[in-house]
């Protein structure tokens, strides 16, 4: 299984604060990797570095073998993302937003692709609605449709289902799962919903204070560390990370 994302010794300092402390990991093809951790653990900074909007202090990021620092454009052509804190511009309609981002990503047969995504994410009724007037769940679906425009080989999702009701969230999870399994790429997923993580992720990485404390299969990892559930393990990582330090590598 070749890697779609390879991170080596990634570190980011903001002044004297170390946000990400030399982490290394890979996301394989057809794999969904969960990036977990408490608020401020460094998840979003890591994702932003992979997206090229934050420059690492040191370390390397390769997307399908392309070094992001040297081949930013080509690496980002095969990447896309959806984040709960980055909705599509509210002053444009769903279709307009998809068309604009489709052009930026150089999507071929764009009109057909937009129609496909409008159907796939149940957005046909909202195609001419401005994104700003959509409900938060509809906005999330629009952002996910944008994230799928270029059929990304590396899909980064930062709490993608945070504002969705359980039924829509399950539907979205299965679509993303299907994208990972049947497509050519992998997914890096952050979430605070441990049920979701267990359901969707093939592997999880627990981040605390910018370091990877634990990694493994979300179904077996809790028992390996004497915990009943993934949520219990998460709480331990958040409250007593020192107890787990050095046990995960």
């Amino acid at each position: 299984m070749s890697d779609v994302l390879s991170i080596t010794g990634l570190r980011k300092e903001f002044g004297h604060t170390v946000a990400v402390d030399g982490i290394s990991f890979q996301v394989g093809r057809n794999e969904i990797v969960g990036l977990l951790g408490p608020n401020g653990a460094g998840k979003t900074t890591t994702i932003n570095m992979i997206l090229g909007v934050i420059q690492p202090s040191s370390g390397g990021i390769c997307v399908e073998g392309l070094d992001l620092a040297a081949h930013r454009g080509r690496a980002l052509e095969r990447t896309n993302f959806a984040a709960v804190y980055s909705p599509l511009p509210g002053n444009l309609t769903v279709t307009q937003n998809l068309r604009i981002f489709g052009l930026i990503y150089g999507v071929d047969d764009l009109s057909e692709r937009i129609e496909e995504l409008l159907k796939q994410f149940d957005l046909v009724a909202f195609r001419n609605e401005k994104c700003g007037v959509l409900s938060s769940g509809e906005q999330t679906r629009a952002a996910l449709a944008k994230a799928m425009l270029n059929r990304p080989h590396l899909l980064l999702l930062d709490e993608p289902t945070a504002s969705l009701d359980p039924s829509v969230a399950r539907d979205i999870r299965s679509r993303i799962r299907s994208h990972a399994v049947h497509g050519a790429g992998g997914v890096l997923w952050t979430s605070h919903n441990m049920y979701e993580v267990q359901d969707v992720c093939d592997r999880v990485l627990f981040l605390s204070h910018g370091k990877i404390l634990l990694q493994g299969n979300p179904k077996t990892l809790p028992s390996e560390h004497g915990k009943a559930t993934l949520e219990e393990l998460f709480i331990t990582v958040a409250r007593e990370p020192l107890k787990l330090e050095g046990t995960g590598e």
Binding site: T44, T45, N48, Q55, G73, L76, Y85
Partner: protein, 268 residues
Amino acid sequence: MKSFRPIGAIVLRHFYLLRGSPARLLPLFAWVAVDILLWGFITRYLNSVTKSGLNFVPTLLGAVLLWDFFTRVMHGVSSAFFEDVWARNFLNIFATPLSISHYLTGLVITSITTSVIGLIVMLVLATTVFGLSFFTYGLMFFPFLVVLFLFGVSLGIFGCALVLRLGPASEWLIWPIPALLSPFAGVFYPLATLPRWMQCVSSVLPPAYVFEGMRRIVAGGTVSLLPLVFGTCLAAVYILLACGYFVSVYHHAQRTGLIARYSAETLS
């Protein structure tokens, strides 16, 4: 052709915004039209009360038209950028394969479109209502526009960089830049009127060469192309400097994480 699509995306975005919003469409021609009307009537009044025989229409109204064109170009570039600021769209835009050169080119093309609309409205009003004849300026009218366009682009890009660096609230520093420069550019009076130190500032402002040339033509003199070529080169250098500044601010924003957390009062 595929490599031009990202530029097209930036232009298309602005077209969608204009089409869907009268509040954005109206300022493209309303304020310049008001300016032409105001100055048109002032020049008429001045022509009627002065006995010098000097026709103020090509001097003052022509100057207003050219200055408004420059202002529209500058604001065209910066307001296209502000759309991303107002929509908090930086993360979506800069986390794509879009290069800085494509992004800035898109902003400039957007500005060409919007400023040409304003220019056409001004030309129509100034010629039909106030009898301003552009034959007075002859072919020199086009180099005048080129110099002002290039300088407007450079200031527009500089304004974008400044807002990216200082945060959205600093947009209020950008809007009045043309007004701040106008005393030095000699829009309405010869540069010789200015004190020496102001003339030194004028000498590095490309519009100053345009307005000096314009007045010389109206006075019946001939204009050497050399000052205009110098003004054009100066404006081109300013564009390069402004682009360099934007790129350096962008890299600073990448290092500090500013793009990812750009918000209303960011200052770092």
